[in-house]
Point group: C2
Chain length 151, copies 2
């Protein structure tokens, strides 16, 4: 166990013992691993997540996108504008409810799906987990998220 200069450490407050830091470091490390792959597609990591949702379900409101990704409109609105500027999505007010904005894939956005197919495979490969470890990790992370979100 590492110690403060001179005095013994008390055991609480050690960076390397904290799950929170392991989580923070792992998340950034994985995102960094995505970067070169996503650069080829002209996407950032959050933009890629938005595209994943749209490839699953085209024409979705900003609100529902926020629910899926747990992101605020203040994060999504500028991001979606950048995707629109890049020609991947269109934004149009809904006739039924003028408050709502539907996000739809353009042709370019839809066709990007094939080029992106290899990304999750490459990342899964880089993570190098067995399927049991992968399942365990997902389960634990979802448990943490659920506990920390409401509790």
């Amino acid at each position: 166990m590492s110690q403060a200069a001179g005095e013994p450490s008390e055991g609480w407050q050690l960076l390397d013992d904290q799950l929170c830091f392991a989580l923070y470091a792992a998340s950034r490390a994985v995102t960094a691993r995505y970067r070169p792959l996503l650069d080829e597609l002209g996407l950032t990591y959050p933009q890629y997540l938005v595209m994943l949702v749209l490839w699953e379900q085209d024409s979705i409101s900003v609100r529902d996108l926020g629910t899926s990704l747990q992101l605020e409109s203040s994060t999504l609105s500028p991001l979606l504008k950048r995707l629109e500027a890049g020609g991947l999505v269109r934004r149009e007010r809904r006739a039924e409810d003028e408050r709502s904005v539907a996000i739809r894939l353009t042709e370019a956005g839809a066709s990007l799906r094939e080029r992106a197919a290899r990304v999750p495979l490459a990342i899964g490969d880089a993570m190098g987990l067995t399927s049991e470890q992968d399942a365990m990790a997902k389960q634990l992370l979802r448990l943490i998220t659920a506990n920390v979100t409401n509790g």
Copy 2:
């Protein structure tokens, strides 16, 4: 390979199946849980991590801080300036090597340690994991970080 809207997805590229998203969501959820606690201390989450390192080992270079936290000097330099402006640390050039800057705690920075003692306990409590689950999660996250970083 691509599908029309409405059809079932093929299993690759499903947001909810991806470990990377679970990681990203969990990391943000945990940080959000920290926020009200750290607000009372006048710290952000990355600032809190820097303070954790300093409480373990006072007088550390920006370089070594970056190695510990896996952060670039371009992230740390402005962050450390804000901590200095807040009166928690001092920055002084090292005599032995004028390129290097030593970060030292002020009195206020050192005494913040006691007030911060309850933070890891509160977070650990909120995560609600058994000690076995906690250990398993840390192990898996470190494995992912290690594999993804070099590989």
